[in-house]
């Protein structure tokens, strides 16, 4: 019985982590942290979109900018799709807009990694529902 509970808990943690990676904020949404979920979604999505707007989608390139790509893919699997479009359409980015775009998209990815870890930690300790309930009572 305990083994089953442990397995269920592990599956729950994996679900929270995967949801948080696929859609920024979704991990917090699953653990009843609705306000945090909305803030995370808006902030990370806008930061990532701003990076793409400044430097074009050419800033995501898993071959020429593979080191940046490691951070960028942490925003969402959508970064992988954008990388595929960039390379198939041969879209390039250069100079200062490329620098700014890469920094924005990579920082968005690293911030989402922080949120994924936070969501999994809250789900692991069970604090998510507890805090969510406290916030409802405020």
């Amino acid at each position: 019985m305990d083994m089953r509970k442990k397995a269920d808990h592990l599956l729950w943690l994996c679900t929270v982590a995967l949801a948080a990676w696929v859609l920024p904020g979704a991990g917090h949404f699953l653990i009843s942290e609705r306000k945090r979920a909305v803030l995370i979604f808006l902030t990370i999505t806008l930061t990532f979109a701003a990076g793409l707007w400044v430097g074009s989608i050419g800033v995501i390139d898993s071959v020429a900018g593979w080191a940046w790509y490691i951070a960028q893919i942490m925003v969402s699997p959508a970064a992988g799709i954008i990388d595929h479009i960039t390379r198939s359409q041969k879209i390039v980015s250069f100079a200062r807009p490329n620098d700014i775009g890469q920094i924005y998209t990579s920082v968005a990815g690293l911030l989402n990694l922080l949120c994924v870890i936070n969501a999994v930690y809250l789900a692991y300790t069970g604090r998510g529902e507890q805090i969510g309930q406290e916030e409802k009572n405020v």
Partner: protein, 82 residues
């Protein structure tokens, strides 16, 4: 429909930003994002008033630190090159 296509097309061409001191202003929206996400994950209970206040304070602190770092580095370069 054409507006949507134009918007999407703007994501395939980089903006024109020169290597000027003004381009450093692009760091401020990023600092705001970092401050918002940090406080979103750190505050135990999210009360809007406290959240906004702490986020603004952190943003001001980060901005101040970055401006100070830029000033010190500029001073260092000026001392080396003059």
């Amino acid at each position: 429909m054409s507006d949507l296509l134009l918007t999407l097309a703007s994501f395939t061409k980089p903006l024109e930003i020169g290597t000027t001191p003004a381009s450093m202003l692009w760091m401020f929206p990023l600092l705001a994002s970092i401050a918002i996400i940090y406080k979103t994950t750190k505050l135990r209970v999210l009360r809007w008033k406290i959240f906004f206040l702490e986020t603004i304070l952190l943003f001001a602190f980060l901005s101040g630190f970055m401006i100070l770092a830029a000033a010190v580095l500029n001073l260092l370069v000026w001392m080396i090159t003059s």
